[in-house]
Symmetry: D2
Subunit: 355 residues, 4 copies
């Protein structure tokens, strides 16, 4: 199940410490101009080692496009992008000691003794790099139709800021936020959030957060019942991103505390367009876009890699023991995950347009 | 996109007011004894008109099995189950007046003038009946392997009860709750919840809630990276259920307020089995089951059908107007949705076992 | 694998002697007027018991449409058509005696003791009835775009007639042939073919033949490399039809005796349209339609059911024995299979248009 | 549609003159030892420039494995193999002059002005190299279960040799033939066939032929009704190979001249195993393997690239003209295609085992 999609097909491959990782993206129409510089910027937003908030593993994360692009434009055939693994210190790993919160145990259960455990192998967060590459192209395809995908960090640990649902969502607004090094609506809140991260780091601990994503410029009618709801497409994509443990559309879980008269978004017209005056449903009714911005939030759990002693099992001896994970680690991956979420959303929305 | 799954295939069809609705379920191994009585019980749990809490539309919801079952056992070929629509008063519908919170607008955007708008057509909650039929069979297939799927109502509007994550989850416990007319852990809380529903009804309003679902008896290693994570499979299935607006696995959004040392579930062994001492990750690491119960919660929004005057648009005239939805309606569908969630979960888990 | 297609989805279900058989067809655009009378005519072309050439099993083969059609037009949602099994004398079958040439042995190998062996169960030629229903709708969808699918019987046993490749293929020509009770270009040859069939019947034997199918009115550019070639789509569909054992496009196997200068179809233009002056490639280059008629031929083997004593194995005793199949049987199914081929081709072409 | 398969997934990418070509193969179980030397031998069997019979374009066709293999064994995750394009003289191509028999016209119809026309682009026979890589791995996976795939050249132009159906098919026999530089049963016939090729070359013309493929060691019960017949799986795969225009299983088209009593393969038992005494059905009944060797033949058309003046259209001017294709070309690709057919068959059989 390393291929996603029906009309658009995304096939991911690679292990953290193998020769390379990559993606085959099939279904992009021919004639789309590929802005390689923009792809590079998106890759950089995800790349580790950029600042004091993230892991020191430095990966160039340069994508080589092997196919599907001719004279700077998509040719309509599958686009394969590959990324070399350059910084692969395999000696750090002790496969018999299960890292809590990681996929070590489940990886061995799935693949047996042949599991490539190094750095999480195929389960590594590193495998989101090809997803960013594919999604960056999807974003460009959507931009042609006036569709913009943006995100902000709605919360880090105990610090939260306002929701996109309470903002006027314009393309310019979304782009402005996405270009920030630490993408938040309110920079003061952003400062506080970064303090949470640094404080966790100082404590050899980690924190999670909430990413909120919005898509503007959508025409109504995208998606498909019964199983092709926009929520199904987006959520199946999002839960492929390591550390994502929850998703909600519009007011989501908050709607439990509201009543029908409050959550129903009333329709209104200006004589031309039909729209809703509120957007509690996050731009989706019956699984289909209603023309309002699609808005959803993701729960991202604290990074499991922490430099603390933790209880675990030695699988060689089937004995209880402790593990201390070596090296420096990301105390928080929310800020790096934001671009992954945007790119994954772009892929899901493109599929919703095509089905 | 009315077919779900790769190894297990679920194909849904039907409109609320057409001749019939149904499902084709392909991929169930041959030789499974079909307990038709149990299927009937599950269908009854979903059926409307059972008590004062639900819509008076009475549907027998008798399923006729057309294929795939021979001498009471599955023959390995596709199982088609159909349900006749018997109570279809089409005269109630005024397609030009968009019902807020419903799929009327998006249905017309998707299908144009040919949309079968009667009772929501293909978008109707009624289409979950075939899903229950298919899932009831999936539950029986899972039961053969010692796997149990159960659920409870974790919250209705402002009233909430404890989480499955804070209980000892046994098969017997899950079954006991599922058999309750109003499935809650604590019956006193259940009484309060039902009062919330009756109070909303009295107010011609509606309320939503949270359903929590648990699956026990799972072996570790089910599911598949990258896009076949158990979370992706379950969520893509759940967001096909009308009114579901959010999902979280394990502690979900709550993990944002916790730190890595708290959310990492430590591994432990009794010398034979390896398990985790907490289950914050809801039984899933890296998208793969770890042998602990899979636990997830769903946000169900308040029923959009309410007998109040609501602002909307008349699509014939492209003019603002008001709508008052006739008839009696469910003030809450959470209690009826619980069985749908269990059955949908059973289908997703069965697929996770097969891929 | 009872679902075919990516953009168009065809899900077949049913056993020869179960409650019913049918199909779910998803992906037909909304707004297509359904001509039920034409569907009935296509169903009749396939139905047994019409004349002295076929089996006396009489099946009304009335299709009931359960969903997807509203006010006589497709609503864009899945169309489910079901057919009741009415004439199901199960007592004729001795499952322990394998019928040579049939799927009895392989059915038990696939499904074990739970295989519904009655009348071939899910392997029965009867399951092509739902395929005709689905394909009849596909034909109507294609007709809207000026695309016509027709076929003729190119050979029965030792008697053959000319190829469509040597005719001028117009819509009217194809329709004229399809309307014949015994669809051939040359009726005299048709008389000879029917004599072959009656002669085989008199001899308690059976004969096969070759069906040639043509599709006109296609625009160039349909289909998709690498695995979505029109030949791949059509052949995967055709080999689902029982008794089909070979397929060739254009000159097919005959091309082995030709040279490149002969088989290459030269391009020509009249100043507007580009076409080829010959059609050896059967309207397909590189898997994609080139605008010429798509032409292909199918080898249909002699019906395996013959009223002769045949050597076989008794699977209860694992002993060699003989079987004599009771009842009257089709001495040839080619004439009934022609409409199945046309309808299956219509489904494959519709998918080729959509992918 | 560049991804094939349901349980096994094969995703092909690349253009003849782009940076590289390759394949992602997903679904190979973990723990399979990869024999890279054997893969190299299979790649060499397909590679051009080996002898006087083939095109002088020399491609190293070295595959680099990027993922899915760890310590020489498959890890269960997707295997990506890439091949660099090194010999890409793009200056030879005049995109406005359509080469007869090629996909130039259809490629432009499919992809418009953005089609990568150089060397046929994505339609090039070169794209079969990744298929050989993927299939070579599939062959190794099948070999583990005692399954062997072999082929021979049954005919070149007017020279034909006997069928596999008239031989005793053992693993050793199939392997012996596959190892021949020119794989035939009878080497004298092979000499004659090669003369046909050289004679066509001397005449600046080309010839086609028939490849027959056999698979031994299969257990009965593989494949799946209705659309997953082994014939459907194999044929959909084979028609992805450029120049294949026909396929027949067992006696195929020859069965038209036979009668039921002749084509029905009688069952027999030795007290343990059940088998058929003839194999007219090519090892498949009702789409499912019956344990006899699967045998099928493919019509391969004469190579369209010939150094003759041919009539065509200049698409810039929409005028009739002539084209003369520069350079030296394969006068026959049948001998190189044999390994492609074997490898593609291995992939189809592996899928048939898994579904």
């Amino acid at each position: 199940m390393n291929t996603w999609g029906s009309k658009l097909k995304v096939s991911i491959f690679g292990e953290s410490h193998g020769n390379g990782i990559g993606v085959v993206l099939d279904g992009i129409p021919s004639g789309l101009h590929i802005d390689e510089e923009q792809i590079r910027r998106e890759m950089q937003r995800r790349a580790p080692g950029r600042d004091k908030l993230s892991t020191p593993r430095k990966e160039a994360d340069e994508v080589e496009i092997l196919s599907g692009v001719f004279d700077g434009k998509t040719s309509g055939t599958p686009i394969c992008g590959i990324i070399r693994n350059t910084n692969t210190r395999s000696r750090d790993y002790t496969p018999n000691l299960l890292r809590p919160g990681h996929a070590d145990f489940t990886g061995f259960q799935k693949y047996g003794a042949f599991h490539d455990y190094r750095g999480g192998g195929h389960f590594s967060g590193r495998i989101t790099a090809p997803l960013v590459f594919a999604g960056a192209i999807a974003k460009q395809a959507l931009a042609q139709d006036g569709i913009t995908v943006g995100s902000h960090i709605k919360a880090i640990h105990k610090v939260a800021e306002q929701s996109f649902l309470d903002c006027e969502l314009t393309d310019a607004f979304l782009k402005e936020i996405s270009e920030k090094a630490f993408p938040v609506i309110c920079d003061e809140k952003g400062e506080e959030m970064q303090k949470e991260i640094l404080s966790a780091a100082a404590d050899k601990n980690s924190v999670g957060g909430i990413i909120e994503c919005a898509v503007t410029g959508l025409t109504p009618g995208l998606g498909s019942p019964f199983f092709g709801s926009v929520e199904s497409l987006i959520s199946s994509m999002m839960f492929s991103i390591p550390a994502v443990k929850g998703i909600e559309f519009g007011r989501g879980f908050e709607m439990c505390g509201m009543t029908g008269i409050e959550t129903n978004d009333p329709f209104e017209t200006d004589g031309e367009r039909i729209y809703t005056t509120t957007n509690n449903n996050g731009g989706i009714n019956g699984g289909i876009t209603n023309g309002m911005p699609v808005v959803f939030s993701l729960a991202v759990k604290p990074t499991p890699s922490i430099a603390r002693e933790q209880k675990t099992v030695d699988t060689d001896k089937i004995e209880n023991t402790v593990i201390e994970i070596k090296g420096r680690h990301d105390p928080c991956i929310v800020q790096r995950a934001a671009v992954v979420v945007e790119c994954a959303a772009a892929l899901a929305i493109l599929e919703a347009k095509l089905i």
